[in-house]
């Protein structure tokens, strides 16, 4: 693949541009919505906060936390997707194709229906568990067989596990209709109505995973040459793979826990990034972080406007954009 930005200088400049774009999207995510707020007011709210101003209250209570959460989820999903694609050597790998969303969903609905769990914070840990479970299950099932982890097998395994979890979820929701409404919006994926407290228990873990991802970049490059070569060059491949898997589960599981089922960000962004900077994971990780955040912020802004005055679940938005991209990838031919 011919990278668009070949030299270190242009890569650095590109990263700066992506970061600036992200900041702009972040600010517009705060400014746009049902109550439009001018950019100067947004800046004001940060610099000199005025408790009497409604706009300032809107900004600090809902808009900022929403934007922060969208950014965190977007970048986590994108980095997780990049690592999954590297780990499985499969361009179609991503948190949504691995059935992680469906697994988390299932565990949440299970806990709501049978154990009457209602607090959002508990949802997080339960979703985390389900996400990890589904990822391990799909990875394990997909790697059985003589030809190892072939793209088609892992995608099929992901689809089947998703189908399994979602039909159980549907069954439980049918049994208790009153729960349906409370979890439905969550199921479809959303970043609204989340407060920053939800991030509190998760952010140290997720930030740690993000830093570790950045630090592992070089080892991932080595691993991408193939297990044998990496081993020959003295890499402890098992260790690197385990670390990567852990990072993926933490990042993907954590973001599903906060935002529900938001698909395709983890699939699309790594591809976009690779076409920009090539296959060097030391660059891919930071690019993914910024572009993933930016893309999800963009999707979130769009989700507020398509069916005003109501909001579209953001997971629906990303799937509507992402599914055609997936089809395009499949058409282009995925051989290795």
């Amino acid at each position: 693949m011919e990278a668009l930005l070949a030299r270190t200088f242009s890569k650095t400049a590109g990263l700066l541009a992506v970061a600036i774009l992200f900041v702009l999207l972040f600010l517009s995510s705060i400014a746009f919505g049902q109550t439009p707020i001018s950019p100067t007011t947004v800046m004001d709210a940060f610099i000199r906060y005025d408790p009497a101003s409604t706009d300032h209250i809107i900004i600090t209570t809902t808009r900022v936390s929403r934007a922060v959460i969208a950014a965190v989820i977007g970048s986590s999903l994108a980095v997780a997707g990049a690592f999954m694609q590297a780990l499985t050597r499969n361009p179609l790998a991503s948190p949504s194709t691995f059935g992680i969303n469906a697994g988390a969903m299932f565990c949440i609905v299970l806990s709501v229906t049978f154990f009457s769990v209602t607090s959002l914070e508990h949802y997080m840990w339960i979703a985390f568990l389900g996400a990890g479970l589904a990822a391990v299950l799909v990875y394990f099932l997909g790697s059985l067989g003589n030809d190892g982890l072939s793209p088609i097998k892992i995608v099929l395994a992901g689809a089947a596990i998703s189908a399994l979890f979602s039909s159980f979820t549907q069954g439980m929701l049918v049994l208790s209709e009153q729960n349906l409404e409370s979890v439905l919006f969550w199921l479809a994926g959303s970043v609204s109505g989340r407060t920053l407290d939800m991030l509190e228990p998760l952010w140290p873990v997720m930030a740690g995973a993000g830093i570790a991802a950045f630090w592992l970049g070089g080892s991932v490059n080595l691993l991408a040459l193939g297990d044998d070569i990496a081993k020959g060059l003295g890499q402890r491949t098992i260790l690197v793979k385990t670390l990567m898997a852990l990072i993926v589960v933490v990042l993907a599981g954590g973001s599903v826990a906060i935002g529900g089922s938001i698909g395709f960000i983890g699939l699309i962004v790594p591809h976009m990034v690779r076409s920009l900077v090539g296959t060097d994971h030391r660059w891919i990780v930071p690019y993914c972080a910024f572009m993933g955040a930016g893309l999800l912020l963009l999707a979130d802004i769009a989700a507020r406007f398509v069916i005003m005055p109501r909001e579209m679940p953001i997971g629906v938005m990303t799937a509507l954009f992402g599914a055609p991209f997936f089809i395009y990838l499949a058409r282009k031919g995925v051989h290795k």
Partner: protein, 349 residues
Amino acid sequence: MTNRHITVRNRSGTVSFLWEKRAIVILLSLVAITSVCFIAGLSIGSTMISPVAVVKYLLGADDGEHQFIIGTHRLPRMILSLLVGAALGLSGLLLQGIVRNPLASPDIIGITGGASVAAIAYIAYFSETAGIKWLPFASILGAAIVSTAIYALSWNRGVTPYRLVLIGMGMAAATGALTMMMIVLSNTDVAAKAYIWMTGSVYGATWGQVYAMLSWLVVFVPLALLLNRVVNVQELGDDVAAGLGARVQWQRLGMIGISVALAGAAVAFAGAIGFVGLMAPHMARKLAGRSYAVLVPVTAIIGGLLVCSADVVARTAFLPLDIPAGVFTAGIGAPFFIYLLFRSRKPSR
């Protein structure tokens, strides 16, 4: 050799079956099991009716005592579940033949998803004005449109099974998003109805639905049987099939067409009952070997048996609640799928 097989063929050889005698035994025992299950299903429920009375009713020797419970409620429901299961199983059999991948089924590659989108759009926007009776057409239309799209998008100087599956899964995701969107946009009442429908249920089956479903099967099952040589050749792989003189792409299109029609009809009448299209063909192959002419009836009966028994359990296990049968097919289907993936470790297949 000759005494272990029965050959059925016309003079020109356009219709030609090779049946093992063992297959007939298997077929007969499956029919027997299904009949037992059928009668048991008719007799249990919130009002228990003795099997003797059920048989009496079926033979027409009943004095009308059970006309309402059996004739109006249970019988159409049981028959519909049998028919739907048969259609789903056959649809899966054909798809697995095309894709040559034992993990393919109409729900995984998006055909069911297309039917669901159309049906839920219909439930949400038209059912108030036009009534529920056009729902089957909406869902068959949806399945057909989505399958056409999958086929067209996979076309690149021919359709390879691999691309077909991947693109089908992309479509499944897209249709899933659309379905979710419509559920979120509509009111709670419609959302709950749509959810039940999506899980798959034969609740409230009527004789009208039974006859309509039957007419689809009457048309497409013989067609599926006629394709038997085609499927056997396709399973050898594109190159070998082309080398044997098969028009691979045309035949593949025909197989997909039949598969879609069967799946679309099943989804139309019973919602998205999952995993039957995946399981039934495998069980059939395990029992009856790989000859397609035997597999068609065996798969159909197994599919019917699966949905029928799942529905009986779903209907009676949590009385007075009536759970969608789809929950139970998934409950059996998922572990089965895992078993399949495990088994594919062995180099033999």
